[in-house]
Symmetry: C2
Subunit: 459 residues, 2 copies
């Protein structure tokens, strides 16, 4: 019987053809007219899983697009791994910037061009193929595996939280491995160990019962814009520290965090050139990567009040508004941070105005996993073998709510194990995926599942 390595090599052309077939389904989750295509993609995935030898395959409804589940659970005493990915895609506009039609994949120079190639169809197909190779060559898997693929990631997975909460038993696992994401570069692996969370609120400042003439009243009545400006300015020191009482209290930032982030190369000059700024700005005492990856923020996303037209209007407006979001890091809690900000606003409201603080439901817990989590140790071993290099321990300043979701409902951390690269135009025209990554990913997953067999199971 061939080895899984030989199986992957022998079936390479077929796997690529299957990827192209998968990519031809325009499963854009944000557009209602593509809902049937998302369903078709689910069915394609389910069919492909069955063909790979995965058992218990089913398409499960949510309040929105469906999820696809399947498992192989014949490794008693071994850990159970939940493999996550998504089969929906971003929209394609602006279409005129695409060199080829986005759902008619073409291969050029070892790259397959299509919407969803890198994010996430190419990446999510990999573990299915790896499992097939193991089952076909070894007759079994080294660990128990569950697959959980969703069709609404690109619209923020709105119906996933209740689904996961309601299916705790079905999805129970020792860890999640996510096939959505990427590596640092073609020759440098990375492990993602933290994402920032989010909370959001709006401030509404109201003064007099109507707009006033600035001649007849100006100087004697509080101006809501001035009041708002005062409140907002009080939240941040001139040098960039957030001054909301207690804001940093729950933040975890260790010397080890600093050491790991410092190992990641960062070109500040290039970063400034990309943004078109001559100077960066942020919390004193932290590097740029630390500020984006490991420190919380309080940003005004929008502000408005009074006259915004051409020229001059001598109005003393009676309202002013601002929207704020905070990016949060572990162990800050969105609700707690909103409360602290509301208390700060109350304390700093100038005389003569009323201020209302409206919290938005949009919120996400920050995510932070132990760097030496057994899943990360296994992934590191695979990376060392495939790349010959230690992985960087990286983070994202953005929010990946699914990781917090799994941690909250399944008690399981998510190991990020995917092979997209930064230049692959995810969410943009001419998205592509490297066939070299497709190949390497399949090997990596075979190796990973073997590595994970050494991890203690919770059972």
């Amino acid at each position: 019987m061939a080895s899984w390595q030989e199986y992957l090599a022998q079936n390479r052309e077929r796997f690529i053809e299957e990827l192209l077939e998968f990519l031809r389904i325009p499963s854009i989750s944000s557009l209602p007219e593509h809902a049937d295509d998302v369903q078709e993609a689910a069915e394609w995935v389910a069919e492909r899983m069955l063909q790979a030898g995965i058992e218990g395959v089913r398409i499960l409804p949510t309040e929105g697009h469906p999820v696809v589940y399947g498992d192989w659970l014949h490794a008693p005493g071994k850990p159970t791994i939940l493999i996550y990915g998504h089969f929906d895609t971003q929209p394609v506009d602006p279409l005129e910037l695409w060199t080829h039609p986005p759902f008619e994949p073409v291969i050029q120079n070892g790259r397959v061009y299509a919407r969803g190639a890198s994010d996430d169809k190419g990446n999510m197909l990999i573990p299915i193929l790896a499992v097939e190779a193991l089952l076909q060559t070894e007759g079994k898997l080294p660990v128990n595996v569950k697959f959980f693929f969703e069709g609404q990631e690109e619209i923020g997975s709105p119906h996933l939280p209740p689904f996961v909460a309601a299916n705790r038993e079905l999805l129970a696992c020792d860890m999640v491995v996510s096939s959505d994401g990427g590596q640092w570069s073609e020759d440098q692996p990375a492990l993602s160990v933290a994402f920032r969370g989010l909370c959001a609120l709006q401030i509404d400042v109201v003064g007099a019962r109507r707009d006033l003439h600035s001649g007849s009243y100006g100087g004697a009545v509080q101006n809501p814009i001035h009041a708002l400006v005062r409140i907002l300015d009080s939240m941040r020191s001139p040098d960039g520290k957030i001054l909301v009482d207690g804001f940093y209290d729950d933040v975890v930032f260790t010397e080890e965090d600093r050491r790991l982030i410092a190992q990641v190369p960062f070109d500040e000059a290039e970063f400034k050139a990309e943004l078109g700024v001559t100077e960066l700005f942020g919390e004193p005492g932290y590097s740029t990567l630390e500020r984006i990856w490991a420190r919380p923020t309080l940003e005004v996303n929008g502000i408005w009040g009074g006259f915004q037209g051409e020229g001059v209007k001598t109005v003393l407006p009676n309202q002013a508004h601002a929207k704020i979001t905070c990016r949060l890091v572990a162990n800050q809690q969105p609700a707690r941070i909103r409360e602290l900000i509301a208390a700060h606003i109350k304390q700093h409201t100038p005389p003569g105005v009323k201020v209302n603080v409206h919290p938005f439901a949009s919120a996400a817990d920050p995510y932070r996993m132990p760097v030496d989590h057994p899943g990360n140790q296994a992934a590191r071993a695979v990376h060392l073998q495939l790349y010959g290099k230690e992985p960087y321990y990286v983070r994202s300043g953005g929010t990946i709510p699914v990781c917090s979701l799994f941690l909250q409902h399944l008690g399981a951390y998510t190991v990020n194990f995917a092979f997209g690269l930064k230049d692959e135009q995810a969410h943009a025209p001419n998205e592509f995926f490297r066939l070299s990554s497709f190949d390497r990913g399949q090997q990596a997953y075979c190796l990973l599942l073997h590595q994970l067999a050494t991890v203690d199971s919770a059972d």
Copy 2:
């Protein structure tokens, strides 16, 4: 021969009929479709002046609506008085709130209701009638009189500055008397001695070359809204003092100013109730009337940047904007104040953004006349005689550019001598003018011209 008092009494009915005729002309200066009506009003005024015995009557073109000029210059050695008023009106909308059609005047309970009744047709007709009474009964006027009536006051007199500058000789005078304005109340006279000036500018703050994702960049790049908020907040102390260096340097505010303003009754509780605020706010150390009448302001009239829609957008915007106007008091100069603010902005610009300051052409010098100006002394004597009371020395927080214009080009101060009252709905539906004010105004102008005969002429 009858006295002027008898003449006014005997012709009262005719004068009222003439006022109604004048009010029937819908001379709305802001609406192009009423341009002919403004012209008709000018012709009506010219005709009425001729009928009154005024000489040299002519309608003079400007770049916009015309002006009407006339004079009577047969009082050698006596001062020359330029009487000012305007024959254009505000628009009438919302029309549905009018009890009667706005250009079909009706008399009810001693009030004539019509658009322009108080502002300014009723008031500007008064000096014409007074001059007729004097000429008809005394055969001459006690002083030299010039009339200067305009048709574009309600749109800010955009074409008056070049006209006045080009007609310095025609309009030369010892003082101006304005028939546009009012008294404190039916039984309390007032003399207006100061109006605030104006300057205006816009601040544009630009950060990165595009809007940024607050997750991927937030914390590491200056947020233009935060930068703008910092700049604006730096301009005013928490307790309301403007912190722009040199802002108050040229302000004239004397103990005499304070004493005169303190004599004017002001009900703070009523003021707060009108505005719907529980607390007033302004420059420390000054009363509310002082703040509005005699102190300069710096107000943000509008602010905008980033996301203003419903809900949440995690954007780090790349621009933010604000509009500022300052109300100025003597002897502040609009251009100088704009420069000081621009310097302050430059000095307080946080790192990581570029700030552009755009000055607007809209500007007006503040106006302040000596309380004991000979014209005020004469007006005071008339008020004492008619009301039996000393006038209040009042001001306006708004801008009346024509007073500064006359001072600049003719070197003449403007005595405000008009009989509107605050409740007469100027600029609003159901504007009216009291016939009692119409009568009293005619007497007052006859008395004033006699009083002014005792003032030294510049000739």
